[in-house]
Structures are given as structure tokens and as C-alpha cells.
Amino acid sequence: MNMSNQDLNWLSNQQPQRMGTDHGARERALLALVKHTTSRPRARGFSLTGRLRAPYFSAVAVGGVAAVTAALVLSAGTGVHSGAGTGHLKPHTHSPLAGTHRSPLVRLADYVGASTAPTGDATLVARTTTNGSNTVTVYDLYADNGQYFFSPTESGLAGQVGANNNLAGGLFAREVAAAKLAATGNVQTAAEDMAIAPDPSKTISPNQPSNTTADRAKEAATGEAQTGSLYDNWVWENSQDALIAGSGQPDVRAGVLQILATLPGVTVTQGSSDGQPTLVLSAGTPELGSGYTEQLTINADSGVPIEFVGGAPGATPTAQVNYQVSRVTLANLPSGSAGGSGA
């Protein structure tokens, strides 16, 4: 038997090669895709924070896993939290706190904003994503100076910091800045900054009639006016990024809470998770449209994010992310074995 690649070469040469000169195929497919995408509600799904960067990191750490010496000053719990994600998502109905949701959020924002500055110079977020039967934990390290490091293992963070593998590149910097602005009291301007933080070249405001092709298509399809929803959606999604990236900074958390309190569809319910009091923030139709909902669970005393879930109302979440937040000092991270080495 000939064990060369002759068979594969032969197969490759035998391709029917039906790739004609029909350049219209691309345009037709793209048009169909755009029509399809504009008919669907915008949604967050999995947490954007960190996941945007994860593939860039080379290290699949091997060897021992040392615990990061961390001064736990934020998280009220240390275990994996079970919250809304373990059950069915609540539909877009008004909770008992609906209509007064600004009060608990603003009250918490005031409380958090007045808290003392945390120790350490960076925030470590252990991010556990559940996707079907798969559960993966990765580690995001947000330095207070704006640097961002990632490792698939906790022990690999020191190597990433040592190699100066800073992946920040401006990502989330504007979101965090908008939150800090809100903490100073200029909430409405900060919310508008938050809406366009990923792309400041865009212009949108709460009172601006929606006029995008996508919204016009959606209006035509649903008969529902889309005015304002895009703005609310952007503020909701970007605020979550800011809350995760700045979860170790009280002023950022306070600012995000102030901004979220301005959203018309966000409702707040009280709960508990692993013995700690929680607030569950549910996005409404203005933020996400119908047929999809998201809930963000935060610690009711600190505003620290605990869990994100998303999916169809009343159904098992299709996206679930748990966060465990702690403060660390970059110079004191224990040496790990990752540092860019491959598996």
C-alpha cells in the first residue's frame, strides 16, 4: 500500500471546482445574513469581559497551581455561587421593586462609593463560564493602572505579568472612565459616554430617534417602535463590561450602579447566594427586546458582580458566567509555570 499523500493530492485535484465567476453569490449571502441579523434582538450572551482577549494568550499552563496570595477584600463569598443561572430565567415582568428600582441601586451606589479604597493594585477575576455541560474557569487580572492580563490558570498570571503581556489596548478603558464619571455625579453624561464607549465615533442619545437600518428593519418586522432601545441596550451591555473590569474599584462599581439606575427596563429583586445578600438586576424589553433576557447578580452590600445569566425568558439559561473577585498586588503574585509556555 502506498503510504504517501498521493491519495490526498489526488482527492484535492479531483475537486469539482464549481467556484465560478458568480460574484453575486457573496452579495446575496451577505444581504441574507444582514437581513437575518437585523431581525434579532441584541443580546449579550456570554460575558464579553476577558473572553475577548482569551484566545490571544498562548499559555495553557501546566504544572502546579499555586494560589495567588490575595487580600480578599471585596467578595463576600469564596465559593462558586449559585444564583439565577441554576434555574429558569425570569421573564420580563415587573418585580415588587419595579418602579422603585432606582432607589436600591442608587442607595447601594452611595454606600459603595463611600467605602474605603481597597488594598492591592489590581483586581483578579476568576471567571467560570458554563456552556452546556462544559465549565471552564479562566483568570483575568485588571491592574488599577489600566493594564490587563489573562491566563487560563491562576498560577500563570505571574508569568504573564513578568512577560509584560498587557492586553489592555484601551479595551474597557472608556467604559471604566464613564463609570468613574458617573460616580462624580454627572450620571446622564456618563451614561451617554458609556453607550458609545466601544466606539466613540458613534453618536446616540436617549432622546435620539432610532434611525439605523437594523432598527428600521426591526420596526417593519415587528411593528414596534425601536426608539431608545439601542441606547438602552448599549448602556446595559457596556456597563456590565465596566463593572467586571472595574470590579475591584469602589468608584467604578458605584458609577455603574448609578448608570444602570437610569435604564427604564432594569428591575431589581433581592435575593441571596451562598449566604450573601444579593441584588438581581434584570434587563427588560427596552434593553434587550422581547424573547431574550439577561440577569446580573451582584452582592447587595458591595456591588461586586457574582453571576451573569442570559437566555430566553422562563427557560434554562443558555449563557452563565460566575465571577469571583479579589484584590491582589502585582509584585506579590507567586511565580507560575505558564509565562507563555505551551502545553
Binding site: 502506498n2 489526488w10 444582514v34 498562548s58 452546556g132 471552564v136 512577560a163 443558555t318
Partner: protein, 207 residues
């Protein structure tokens, strides 16, 4: 104590990019998919990157129906983008996996239609299937390929053509078809043996 990447799919480790210690200018596919969750425009960038490859593959497999199948693959991918595993920076295996499923459905439907025709006694000889390669697919592949692939089961053939025509490696094929790496190796080994036997028996067809 650390169970990161403890899922049973071995290819996951192999597909994580190891060559990009620093940020590069253009976002990875995984980044585009993550961004597309809130900004659908990012998905069109993914479309632009991979349309040609996916279109060519689907066209080679399914003829004129390939255009619709490739377009449908992108629509399905958009709907599933929130479930994309961001550890895989290259989305090609994922996209080809979706397309392979659609192609399988396409040929299965064609076979059902052919069987209906048979039952109604309006038999079309071009739609008669023998062995594992059904009539429509055999017709689309042409006589030489059809003869070589005739006895290869559908699952083995899918894996082989992803290797030979889509330029995916074994690990990527495992991810695309959601099967263990060892299964990919055995399927492709079996399929290649069949092709080699065909070429040995038909030396005039060899390149």
C-alpha cells in the same frame, strides 16, 4: 485542583493559539464572535473572512445548492455565536462543522425525495443510490470521485473531505464534527485506505 480545560475534548488544548503573545492589529475570529454578540456588524467581518472558503467547499460538495447551504451556515453560525468557545481563535473548524451538518441534511433530504420518487414509480436513474454514497451526491462528485468514495461511509467521507478539501487538520476536524480525535484518525485512516485501494486498482487515474 485546577480543572481548567478539563473537558474531554483533547483538541481544545491544541487549537489555542500559541503564537500570539501580544495583541495584533486585526481581531481574531473569537474576538469578532464575542464582539458580534452586541454588535452584529462584527459578524459581517467574519463572513468576509471565510465566505470564499466555505462557499467553495459547499459548492464542491453540493453543486448549485452549495450557495444556499453556505449562506445558511453563516445564518446558523450567527444564531449560535453566543455559544462559541472563545478558546478557539480560528472559527473555520466551527463554520465547516456547521456546513457539514447542513450538507448531511441536504443529502439526506435528497435521498428521502428520491425514495419517494421510487415509491411512486417515477424512477429517476440518476437518483438511485448504492452503498453509502447516495445518488445525488454521487452525481455531483462526478464518476471518478464517486467511484473512489463509493464504499466510504458518510461519516468517514465527511472527515476525509474536510481534510482534503477544507484544509482542516485532524484536531480541527475533531472540533468541527464534535468527535474525539482518535475517531477522526480512524475514520480518515479507513477512508484513505479505500481511496488508495481504488487508485491501486485504477492506476490510470493516478496523478
Amino acid at each position: 485542583m485546577d480543572n481548567t480545560y478539563s473537558d474531554s475534548r483533547a483538541p481544545a488544548r491544541l487549537l489555542i493559539r500559541r503564537d500570539l503573545p501580544h495583541r495584533i492589529d486585526s481581531p481574531s475570529d473569537a474576538e469578532l464572535l464575542a464582539a458580534s454578540v452586541r454588535n452584529a456588524d462584527a459578524f459581517t467581518e467574519l463572513f468576509e473572512r471565510h465566505w470564499d472558503d466555505l462557499y467553495r467547499f459547499c459548492l464542491n460538495r453540493a453543486g448549485s445548492a452549495g450557495e444556499d447551504i453556505a449562506a445558511e451556515a453563516f445564518r446558523v453560525a450567527f444564531d449560535r455565536r453566543k455559544r462559541y468557545d472563545a478558546r478557539y481563535s480560528d472559527a473555520r473548524p466551527w463554520l465547516f462543522g456547521i456546513a457539514s451538518n447542513l450538507l448531511r441534511d441536504h443529502f439526506r433530504t435528497a435521498k428521502r425525495e428520491a425514495n419517494k420518487l421510487k415509491r411512486s414509480a417515477t424512477l429517476d436513474v440518476t437518483l438511485q443510490g448504492r452503498g453509502e454514497l447516495d445518488g445525488l451526491e454521487r452525481q455531483l462528485l462526478g464518476p471518478r470521485l464517486a467511484a473512489a468514495l463509493q464504499e466510504i461511509p458518510t461519516a468517514d467521507r465527511d472527515a476525509l473531505l474536510l481534510l482534503a478539501w477544507a484544509d482542516l487538520d485532524y484536531e480541527q476536524i475533531a472540533y468541527a464534527l464534535e468527535i474525539p480525535l482518535g475517531t477522526v484518525r480512524s475514520r480518515i485512516h479507513r477512508a484513505r485506505q479505500r481511496v488508495r485501494e481504488h487508485l491501486d486498482a485504477n492506476p490510470s487515474e493516478q496523478v
